[in-house]
C-alpha cells in the first residue's frame, strides 16, 4: 500500500483514499449491523438486569417521604438539637400546618399522610397512630399555641424521640436501612448505637448465612469430587448413565426436590420409620431432622450438588491420564501422584464449583423457607419478609445490596487468588 502510494498518480491517490473511506464505511456498516443484531439482547439486559438492580441499589438509600409530606416541619427542625429538649413552638405549628394541608388536599394528600405514618413507624413503634390521629384533628386546630394542643392529642409529642425521628428522616437520602441491616440505629442524640438486645437479629442471620453457604460448599465438594472423578474416568457407557443420574434431579423442580426431603426426613418419614423399625432410634423420642438447621443443610447440599459436580467433571475430563502415568513411572505412590499431580489440575473446577455453590447458597430462599423452621432461615428469607409482609422495601433493598456487595467482594477475591479467566463452568 505504502509502496504503491509512493508512485501513484493524483487520481490513484484519490482512488485510494476513496477506497479507504469505502472500507471504513463498509466496516462501519458491518459494525452497526453487528450492534443492531445484538441490540435486542443489550436492551433486554439493560431493562431486565441493569435498571432493576440500579433501582434496587437506589431504593436502599432513597427516602423522600418525610421531606415530601412535612417540608415545613423539616425546615423548622433544621437547627434543633435533641439535647436541648423539646423543639420550639415553630415546629409544633409547622407539623400542624403540614398535616392539615395534606388532610385537605384530596386523596393524594391523605395517601401521603399514610405513607408518612408508615415510614415513621418503621423507625419508632406506634408513631403511626400518633400521626394519623393528629392529622385527623389538625384541621380543627386553627390557632396556637400548638404545643400543648398536640401534647393533649398524644403525649408522644411531648417527648424528643418523635421529633428526632422526623428530623433524621427529613433528608431525601438515608443510611438507616444499612445501619438496621447490622442491628444498629440512631438514638435520640443522633449517635449510632446497637439495637436493644431483644431486637437484634440481622448480624446473627448474616453470620448464619455465611456459615450455611460455607458448609454447603464444603459438603458439596466432599461429596461431589469423588462423583466427578468417577464420571470423568469410567468408560463412556457407564459414565453417561451416571451423568443422567446427576442431571435427573437437576431437571426436577426445586420445589419437588425440597418437599421430597420433607417426606424423607419428617417425623413419620421414610428415614426415621426405617430406623425405628430397625430399632436404631427409640420410637417415642425421634430426633428432629427437618424444620431446623439440619434440614436446611441436607436439602441445600443435595439441591446444589450438580452445580459442584458439573464444573468439576468438565475440568477432570480435560486432564490427560498421561500426567498420572508419568508421575507413577517417575516413582510416585498412587496417593502421592493423585494429590501432587492430579488435584492441582482440578483447581479451576474446584474454584468454579465452589464459587457457584457458595453464591447460590447465600442467596437461597425457597428451601430454607420450607424446611428451615425457626433456626434454619437465611438472609433471603428476611428480604422476602420485608418485601412481602412488612412492605419496608427500602430495608429489603439495603439487605439485598449488602448481599450483592458480598458476592462482588467474593468475586474479586477469587479473581485475585485463582484468576477468573481460569474458571471453567463446563
Amino acid at each position: 500500500m505504502a509502496q504503491a502510494a509512493l508512485t501513484a498518480t493524483p487520481a490513484e491517490i484519490a482512488d485510494a483514499t476513496n477506497l479507504k473511506a469505502k472500507l471504513r464505511r463498509a466496516t462501519a456498516r458491518a459494525r452497526r449491523n453487528a450492534f443492531l443484531m445484538t441490540a435486542p439482547l443489550l436492551i433486554m439486559l439493560l431493562i431486565t438486569f441493569i435498571v432493576p438492580i440500579g433501582y434496587m441499589l437506589f431504593r436502599s438509600v432513597d427516602d423522600p417521604v418525610v421531606g415530601m409530606a412535612a417540608p415545613l416541619t423539616a425546615k423548622a427542625l433544621a437547627d434543633w438539637n435533641a439535647e436541648t429538649g423539646l423543639p420550639p413552638e415553630d415546629a409544633y405549628a409547622a407539623i400542624v400546618a403540614d398535616l392539615s394541608r395534606l388532610r385537605t388536599s384530596g386523596t393524594d394528600g391523605k395517601a401521603l399522610i399514610g405513607r408518612l405514618a408508615t415510614r415513621l413507624n418503621f423507625e419508632q413503634p406506634s408513631v403511626r397512630s400518633v400521626i394519623t390521629k393528629t392529622a385527623r384533628k389538625s384541621t380543627k386546630l386553627k390557632e396556637g399555641p400548638y404545643k400543648d394542643a398536640l401534647i393533649k392529642i398524644n403525649k408522644k409529642w411531648g417527648e424528643p424521640e418523635i421529633w428526632a425521628t422526623i428530623q433524621r428522616l427529613s433528608a431525601p437520602y438515608t443510611t438507616v436501612h444499612f445501619l438496621a441491616s447490622l442491628d444498629l440505629h440512631y438514638d435520640v442524640d443522633g449517635s449510632i448505637v446497637s439495637q436493644p438486645e431483644v431486637r437484634r437479629v440481622y448480624v446473627t442471620i448474616w453470620l448464619r448465612t455465611l456459615y450455611v453457604g460455607g458448609l454447603v460448599t464444603l459438603l458439596g465438594l466432599l461429596l461431589g469430587y469423588p462423583v466427578a472423578y468417577l464420571l470423568a474416568n469410567l468408560p463412556t457407557r457407564i459414565s453417561n448413565l451416571l451423568i443422567i443420574l446427576v442431571l435427573l434431579p437437576f431437571w426436577t423442580s426445586l420445589l419437588v426436590r425440597t418437599t421430597s426431603w420433607i417426606v424423607v426426613l419428617g417425623q413419620n418419614g421414610v428415614l426415621l420409620e426405617t430406623l425405628a423399625w430397625l430399632g436404631l432410634v427409640s420410637d417415642d423420642n425421634r430426633p428432629q431432622l427437618i424444620y431446623n438447621m439440619t434440614g436446611t443443610i441436607v436439602a441445600m447440599t443435595h439441591i446444589l450438588l450438580p452445580f459442584m459436580i458439573l464444573p468439576l467433571y468438565s475440568v477432570m475430563k480435560g486432564i490427560s491420564p498421561t500426567y498420572m502415568r508419568a508421575a507413577r513411572s517417575l516413582g510416585a505412590a498412587p496417593a502421592q501422584a493423585f494429590i501432587k499431580v492430579y488435584m492441582p489440575q482440578t483447581i479451576p473446577g474446584v474454584g468454579a464449583g465452589s464459587i457457584l455453590v457458595f453464591i447460590l447458597a447465600i442467596g437461597y430462599y425457597i428451601t430454607p423457607a420450607l424446611v428451615g423452621g425457626q433456626r434454619g432461615t437465611l438472609i433471603s428469607n428476611f428480604i422476602a419478609f420485608h418485601m412481602q409482609k412488612s412492605l419496608n422495601w427500602g430495608f429489603a433493598a439495603a439487605l439485598g445490596t449488602i448481599l450483592l456487595l458480598g458476592v462482588l467482594v467474593l468475586y474479586w477475591f477469587y479473581d485475585r487468588i485463582i484468576g477468573i479467566n481460569k474458571m471453567k463452568l463446563g
Binding site: L112, V198, N268, Q388
Partner: protein, 364 residues
C-alpha cells in the same frame, strides 16, 4: 321464606347492576384474587358462578398469600391487573391510608331482606372506607383426637401445657395471634389482652410464655400447612384457620377437633386496588357478593361466619358433606364464649417492632 329473600335480593342487586351498566361501558371479565384452596372454592361456588350466570361477566380467579405487596407493586408501577382482592382488616386500613385502595361507596350495598339498611346489617364496625367484609374467620387451635383419647385439651392454656399434653405444636410464624394466645393462656382475660400487650412488661410476659413451648413448636406459614402437619403426625396440635380444619374434618374425615376457647377472630374484606381496570364491574360484584343470600350461601361451603347478621338464619347444611353448618361457625354462641377480636389498630402500630422482636426471638 328463603325463596322470598332470594327474590328480593336478586331484584335489588339487578336493579343496582342495571344502574351501573347504564353508566359504564360493558366489560367482559374481572380478575378476583383470594387465598386459594377450600376458601376460594367457597367463593367461586357462592359468588363467582351465580354472578357470571346473572351478568355474563366472566371471572378469572387468582390465588395469593395475603399482604399488600402485589397491590403496592401494581399501583406504584401504574399497571394494575387485579380488580378485587380478599384481604384482612389490617391491610384494608393500611392500604386505604396509603392510597393503594379505592374508597368504596357503602350506598351500593343492598339492605337486608327485611329492609334493614346495610350499615346496620353488617357486624358493628366491620364496614371500612375501602373494604366491604364478607366473612368472620378465626384462628383456633386443633388437635389430633387419636393422640389424646382420654382427657383431651379444652382450653387455650392447654396449648402451652406440654406436661399434660406432650408433643409438637404447629404455630403460625408471625407474632400476631401467638402473643394473644400466650397472654390468654397466662391468665389474661380476653378483653384485657391488648391493654397488657401495649406495655413493655406485657410483651415480655407474652414472649416468656412462648418461651415455655419454643422447643416444641414447628412453625407454619401457609394456611394449608397446619391440617397437613396434623395429618402427617408432625404435630399433635396446631393453630389454624378454623375453615381449613373444618374442611379436613368434614370432607376428608380427619380425626381432628377444634378448641374454640381463646379464638382470635378477624374479618376478610373485598378491596379494589387503586386504578383497577374494571372498577365498575368490581363494585357490581362487591354489592352482589355481600348481599344476605350470597353470604349465607358461602357458609354452606366453608365454616366461616357471614359478615351480615341477616345471613345467619339462612345458613344451611354443608353442600357436599351435608353437615349442619350452624354449630361450626366461629360466631356460634357455644364457640364464641371466650373470643378475642384481632385489634388491627394495635397491630398497625406495633407490627414492625413486634415482628422484629419475634424474628430475633426465633433466631436465638
Amino acid at each position: 321464606m328463603t325463596f322470598k329473600f332470594k327474590l328480593g335480593s336478586i331484584a335489588l342487586t339487578s336493579a343496582l347492576a342495571l344502574g351501573l351498566v347504564a353508566t359504564q361501558a360493558k366489560a367482559e371479565s374481572l380478575t378476583i384474587v383470594s387465598w386459594g384452596g377450600a376458601y376460594t372454592k367457597s367463593q367461586v361456588k357462592a359468588y363467582h358462578e351465580p354472578f357470571t350466570a346473572k351478568t355474563g361477566i366472566t371471572i378469572k380467579s387468582d390465588d395469593y398469600n395475603g399482604g399488600l405487596a402485589e397491590v403496592k407493586a401494581q399501583v406504584e408501577a401504574g399497571n394494575v391487573t387485579w380488580d378485587l382482592v380478599d384481604v384482612e382488616v389490617s391491610d384494608v386500613v393500611r392500604g386505604c391510608d396509603e392510597g393503594l385502595l379505592e374508597p368504596i361507596d357503602q350506598s351500593i350495598l343492598p339492605p337486608a331482606p327485611d329492609g334493614t339498611p346495610a350499615a346496620k346489617d353488617f357486624l358493628p364496625g366491620s364496614l371500612y372506607e375501602c373494604g366491604i367484609p364478607t366473612i368472620v374467620w378465626t384462628t383456633i387451635y386443633a388437635y389430633d383426637k387419636t393422640k389424646f383419647p382420654s382427657n383431651p385439651p379444652s382450653t387455650i392454656a392447654d396449648l402451652f401445657d406440654t406436661k399434660k399434653f406432650p408433643g409438637k405444636r404447629g404455630l403460625r410464624k408471625v407474632p400476631k395471634v401467638n402473643l394473644e394466645f400466650a397472654l390468654m393462656a397466662d391468665g389474661v382475660p380476653a378483653d384485657k389482652v391488648y391493654e397488657v400487650l401495649g406495655t413493655p412488661e406485657g410483651v415480655d410476659r407474652a414472649f416468656a410464655k412462648l418461651d415455655t413451648i419454643k422447643d416444641d413448636v414447628i412453625w407454619w406459614e401457609a394456611g394449608a400447612q397446619p391440617p397437613q402437619m396434623l395429618a402427617d403426625g408432625e404435630v399433635v396440635m396446631a393453630s389454624a384457620y378454623n375453615g381449613r380444619i373444618f374442611n379436613a374434618i368434614a370432607t376428608e374425615n380427619k380425626p381432628f377437633e377444634i378448641v374454640w376457647d381463646g379464638q382470635v377472630w378477624d374479618l376478610d374484606l373485598w378491596v379494589i386496588p387503586k386504578g383497577a381496570p374494571n372498577k365498575a364491574d368490581a363494585l357490581k360484584f362487591v354489592a352482589f357478593s355481600t348481599d344476605t343470600q350470597r353470604l349465607a350461601d358461602q357458609a354452606g361451603w366453608i365454616s366461616y361466619g357471614p359478615a351480615r347478621k341477616s345471613s345467619v338464619p339462612l345458613i344451611g347444611k354443608h353442600k357436599e358433606a351435608g353437615i349442619d353448618m350452624g354449630p361450626h361457625m366461629p360466631t356460634a354462641p357455644a364457640n364464641f364464649k371466650n373470643a378475642l377480636q384481632n385489634d388491627f389498630e394495635f397491630w398497625a402500630d406495633h407490627a414492625d417492632e413486634l415482628n422484629e422482636r419475634f424474628n430475633a426471638w426465633l433466631a436465638k
